[in-house]
């Protein structure tokens, strides 16, 4: 038993570094450590371990372990905002949300600069379905803590869930400013714009996402993952643009060489599906049949080649 302790500690430290949410394993391993009082041999790492174990234990509804950890943490750091957040989460797990909200309110009254508490409060509000209040509070929070990218993405998702797609793109534009190197946000922006029926903006953003993802791609390389999704987006936008006249709420200009783009996106999506092994044969057929009509209607698009 004792021999496995160092390896267990190592695994847990790894989880902490990579932010892995493997709550079951953490509780299984952590419980042994907690019983063996191994935490004291950890030095300062012990507190990070206890925090991790608390969250994991609440995750799997093992409240005795969580309470034990919380007790130790509270004894070590009385009045710590981080422990306050943990006990708030513990409260959310078993108590009605109103009590948790009240607890957070009290904390904010004494210290109005605790960002984590605001976020917990907002997440409780979302959980009990008070989306409108959550949006107001989240906007207010982001007005102060502007650099919280996750906050902006969350706000965009909240707006999307209420069909407020234009507002969602506005929130996402802040996320883009804060993390211009992240293609996922660009893709999300593009898809939100597509849903908001701002096709010219959407196709531009899809292409921007591709510009980031496929930085090192060439004609021979096979699109994978996010890249396929973005090429699909370009293809969908091209199709929409060729079928009807699309207006742009953001006054985005239509890209030049649309027929070429249509051709390119078709080609890229087909490459992605024809290169993969046999396992997605059905997928390939579906894609081919979906691409088909548009290819046959090439005359309408006036393909250059």
């Amino acid at each position: 038993m004792l021999a496995s302790l160092p390896s267990a500690l190592q695994t847990l430290a790894n989880y902490r570094i990579h932010n892995t949410r493997a709550s079951k394993e953490v509780v299984d391993k952590g419980k042994v450590l907690l019983d063996a009082q191994a935490a004291s041999s950890l030095g300062d790492d012990a507190w990070a371990f206890l925090e991790q174990l608390t969250l994991a234990a609440i995750d799997v509804a093992n409240y005795e372990v969580a309470d034990e950890c919380l007790r130790q943490l509270a004894a070590q750091f009385p009045g710590s905002p981080r422990v306050d957040v943990l006990s708030g989460i513990r409260m959310e797990a078993t108590q009605p949300p109103e009590i948790a909200l009240k607890f957070y309110d009290e904390l904010l009254e004494t210290d109005s600069s605790n960002a984590a508490i605001y976020k917990r409060r907002i997440s409780v509000l979302i959980r009990i379905g008070k989306i409108e209040q959550a949006v107001t509070e989240l906007s207010d929070y982001l007005d102060t803590f502007y650099t919280d990218v996750e906050g902006w993405v969350e706000l965009a998702e909240l707006y999307s869930s209420c069909n407020q797609y234009t507002s969602a793109t506005r929130a996402l534009s802040h996320a883009l400013l804060l993390a211009p190197q992240n293609p996922f946000y660009v893709l999300q922006f593009a898809e939100t714009a597509y849903t908001a029926d701002d096709i010219p903006l959407a196709i531009k953003m899809f292409m921007l996402a591709l510009d980031i993802i496929d930085r090192h791609a060439s004609e021979e390389s096979i699109p994978t993952g996010v890249s396929i999704r973005a090429w699909y987006g370009v293809k969908l936008c091209c199709r929409a643009l060729s079928e009807r006249s699309c207006s742009s709420a953001s006054d985005t200009l239509l890209p030049k060489n649309l027929p070429l783009l249509d051709e390119l996106s078709t080609e890229r999506v087909l490459t992605a599906y024809s290169a993969a092994g046999k396992d997605n044969a059905t997928g390939r057929e579906l894609v081919l049949s979906w691409m088909g009509p548009s290819d046959r209607s090439g005359g309408r698009l006036h393909f250059v080649r």
């Binding site: 102060t144 650099t147 985005t252 390119l264």
Partner: protein, 267 residues
Amino acid sequence: MSSPAVSLYLDPQIRDWVLFPITLVMILVGILRHYVVLLLQSPPKKLPKAAIREQRALSRSQILRATSANSPIPPSYYRSISSRLHTAFEAGTYLKDGPPQGDAPSTPANPMTDPAAMDGMMAGMKTQMVMMVPQMVIMGWINFFFQGFVLIKLPFPLTLGFKSMLQRGIETHDMDVRWVSSLSWYFLNFFGLNGLYRLILGNDNSAADTSQAMMSSPFAGTNQPGQPQDYVKLFKAEKDNLAFSEGLYLWLGDDVETRLLRKYSKL
């Protein structure tokens, strides 16, 4: 051994009762000072939300400006954010105490009247006192008991220029520069022990930076964190910067299709 005639013979008692005690006392005082400073440090004061908002408002526009030449967001979005910040800076929405009333001249608050700034200054003063007082006491102690003592002989020759550095407190013209006086030994330790403190107390200790701290006046160092900044003025300057970067603004998406088509050699 160039001139054995002038060579001095130092009493080993000087080594045992002067050289080592001075060094030891200085090391111990440095370590003690580290812990006293730790004790004196009050936890950083928590800012109210409005103050954080005021402080970070500038970074908002800096983030916007940072990418303006290759902006990831479309023109209409950029302009709306930019103009919103512009009006907010103009109206003083982000100011801690709300928009300024009337046209009262905005003077930076006197640090002596603001209790928060006063606290910061007091903390700085306390640290400075902890730095200075022991040094002055040690120097007095050495001057009083060991004035004019020659403590050691350096194992290497030096030029005459070092005389004032190594033989402070001994007014002889003829003595070899290699002999070090007690007061000079104190100064050598004072500036030279930083490495040792770093070794004993870790990198982030408050004993090692004595020499830098001693040079600065007790007010100069404390002003950086505690200084009340005039956000009205800062916001005014930021407004101009925003206007500049709006002129620089270029959307990455403007020619993205050309770039993509080129990459896949369709153009």
